[in-house]
């Protein structure tokens, strides 16, 4: 019945062996590391950015543990691990949590739920259609709790309230596929966040750390109408492999963008998909990807 059970000793796990040499690989730039309560400067000529606060007698202090960044007179401290901080124009993937009057509440992994207004979505039947009361009543037919959407950040309010829009054919409801959640600081800001990989996988890399993996046909299908066509076995395998590869990369803090994911995908073909869930294989894949990046870059 159970022919291949894999038993390993906990102690034989090689943990963080490679961390030391990994950090010397990229740690060439000198970075100022601060922790909460560290004085950054007592000079009054600087502006207070995110992650800092002013105190009369101590000058400018850090509020988080992170790296100091200076842009002209503005000083910010960027923490390494934090919730998603939305900016206008970001591509995000989110999950609908609530249907309200005239808007949907979307969980994008930020501090507050984002709002997707009825007037900022394209409903089936023409772009310039007026939205009536009937549309308001039919909202739960378009999107309901638990649905996944890809969208763009339209506006960020002063108190951090976020509104999204899907007024582009790229965005909309997501159908069949797999979602991976990683830390938002691991996602690299790129020109495009929609990728068609050579293995037949369509990838949406949300800047909020939500990655959506689906097949190419899905990307071209019309949004709001669910496409329940069977995805062939080969593509499903590619989707699974991509998912496992992304998890491996995120565990070893490798920045995620199309190149790294493709490299890691190629490297991972030496192993079966299930093997990619083992910690030592994940480390191997991550390590080889890092080496390849170093060679190419």
């Amino acid at each position: 019945m159970s022919a291949d059970i894999d038993v390993r000793l906990f102690s034989s796990r090689s943990r963080s062996k490679s961390l030391a040499d990994e950090s010397e690989f990229m740690g060439t730039r000198a970075k100022i590391v601060v922790s909460p309560g560290t004085t950054i400067t007592t000079d009054g000529g600087f502006m207070r950015g995110h992650g800092t606060y002013l105190e009369d007698e101590n000058g400018l202090l850090s509020a988080v543990a992170g790296v100091v960044e200076k842009v002209n007179k503005l000083i910010t401290v960027r923490p390494l691990k934090t919730r998603y901080n939305p900016e206008v124009g970001d591509v995000v993937v989110g999950r609908i949590v609530q249907v309200c009057q005239k808007l949907w509440k979307v969980d994008v992994g930020g501090r507050l739920y984002a709002a997707l207004h009825l007037h900022s979505v394209n409903l089936p039947g023409g772009e310039l259609r007026r939205k009536s009361i009937e549309d308001e009543l039919l909202m739960s037919q378009y999107l309901i709790d638990g649905d996944l959407v890809s969208a763009e950040v339209q506006n960020v309010g002063v108190d951090g309230a976020v509104s999204l829009h899907t007024r582009n054919l790229k965005y909309g409801k997501l159908g069949q596929g797999s979602l991976v959640q990683v830390s938002p600081s691991l996602v690299k800001r790129c020109k495009t966040h929609f990728h068609n990989l050579p293995n037949g996988v369509h990838l949406v890399i949300g800047l909020n750390g939500f990655l959506w993996i689906t097949h190419e046909g899905e990307a071209e299908s019309s949004h709001f109408a669910q496409n329940l066509e069977r995805v062939d076995y080969h593509t499903r395998e590619s989707i699974c492999r991509t998912r496992n590869v992304i998890i491996s990369l995120s565990r070893y803090n490798i920045m995620l963008y199309d190149t790294t994911i493709l490299y890691a995908y190629e490297i991972s073909t030496d192993y079966s998909i299930a093997q990619l869930l083992k910690p030592e294989i994940q480390m191997e894949v991550a390590h080889l990807t890092r080496q390849k990046l170093q060679l190419e870059g």
Binding site: L19, E22, S23, E24, F25, M26, G27, K31, V33, S35, P36, G37, T39, G51, Y53, N58, L61, A63, V64, A65, G66, V67, E69, R78, P79, L80, K81, T82, R83, R111, L112, Y113, D159, G160, A161, S185, L186, K188, R189, N253, I254, M255
Partner: protein, 247 residues
């Protein structure tokens, strides 16, 4: 004084420490993948796990949300196996309610709550092993978890307990010393400004000894701060080399 001798003539305590000596401090961060921040802090035989969730949307009724700052929600609990006597501790008992309140008040002053309007920050603290100074270790663990979560803090909050035995101030009390009546107090400070954010004195101390004991505890807090700060800087420095934050 009871049967025990808390400070021997040679200047040693029951567990072999000097009067002003702290226990071994050990901590690791990011122990939970699901939480926004987490920490595992070990001070001698006292072990505490802390997890921080948030800042996130206020749960359980929008009424609690504050339009100009975040709500800090704490929960303190002790595992059934944490003490010598195995005992189920329901969450609503007097001791844990008191601890919860202490934690909440401490962190409401330390967190820059103005940065997170209409949000909620959850701090969950669980004692795995109780060997004295529970409140101080709980505060230390919660601080580390908050730093790990990248939540804006005025400063670290470092806490330490101290007590008086035969006119000598002892630092970082263990369970045996703490069970002696009329001895201990716990102090939490913001190390940068040395401002005191919490003093918990649940037993009687002679007024002559109070200031001396508090001063001793503050020294202990500074030691803890130094250890934690080095730990955090080492971790952040290592990760900063891997994650390219400039994008």
């Amino acid at each position: 004084m009871s049967g025990h001798q808390y400070l021997s003539e040679e200047g040693f305590r029951v567990d072999g420490r000097r009067a002003q000596e702290m226990r071994k401090l050990d901590c690791s961060l990011g122990v939970f993948a699901q939480a926004d921040g987490s920490a595992y802090v070990k001070e001698g035989n006292t072990v505490v796990l802390a997890a921080v969730y948030g800042p996130h949307e206020v749960r359980g009724g929008r009424v609690k949300a504050l339009h100009d700052r975040a709500v800090v929600n704490c929960q303190f609990s002790a595992a059934t196996f944490s003490t010598a006597e195995r005992k189920r501790r329901p969450r609503g008992d007097t001791k844990s309610v008191e601890m919860t309140l202490h934690l909440q008040q401490t962190f409401e002053t330390a967190i820059l709550t103005k940065l997170y309007p209409r949000c909620q920050i959850d701090i969950f603290v669980e004692v795995l092993q109780a060997d004295g100074s529970i409140l101080s270790v709980a505060i230390n663990a919660a601080t580390m978890a908050l730093v790990d979560a990248g939540i804006g803090l005025r400063d670290y909050v470092c806490a330490c307990s101290a007590g008086v035995f035969n006119d000598a101030a002892l630092l970082d009390l263990n369970n045996l010393e703490e069970s002696q009546k009329g001895t201990g107090l716990t102090v939490a400070i913001l190390p940068k400004t040395e401002r005191i954010v919490l003093v918990d004195m649940s037993s009687k101390i002679h007024s002559d000894h109070v200031s001396k004991t508090i001063e001793a505890a503050i020294e202990g807090c500074k030691d803890i701060h130094a250890t934690f700060d080095a730990k955090i800087k080492e971790r952040v420095g290592r990760l900063a080399a891997l994650i390219n934050t400039e994008n």
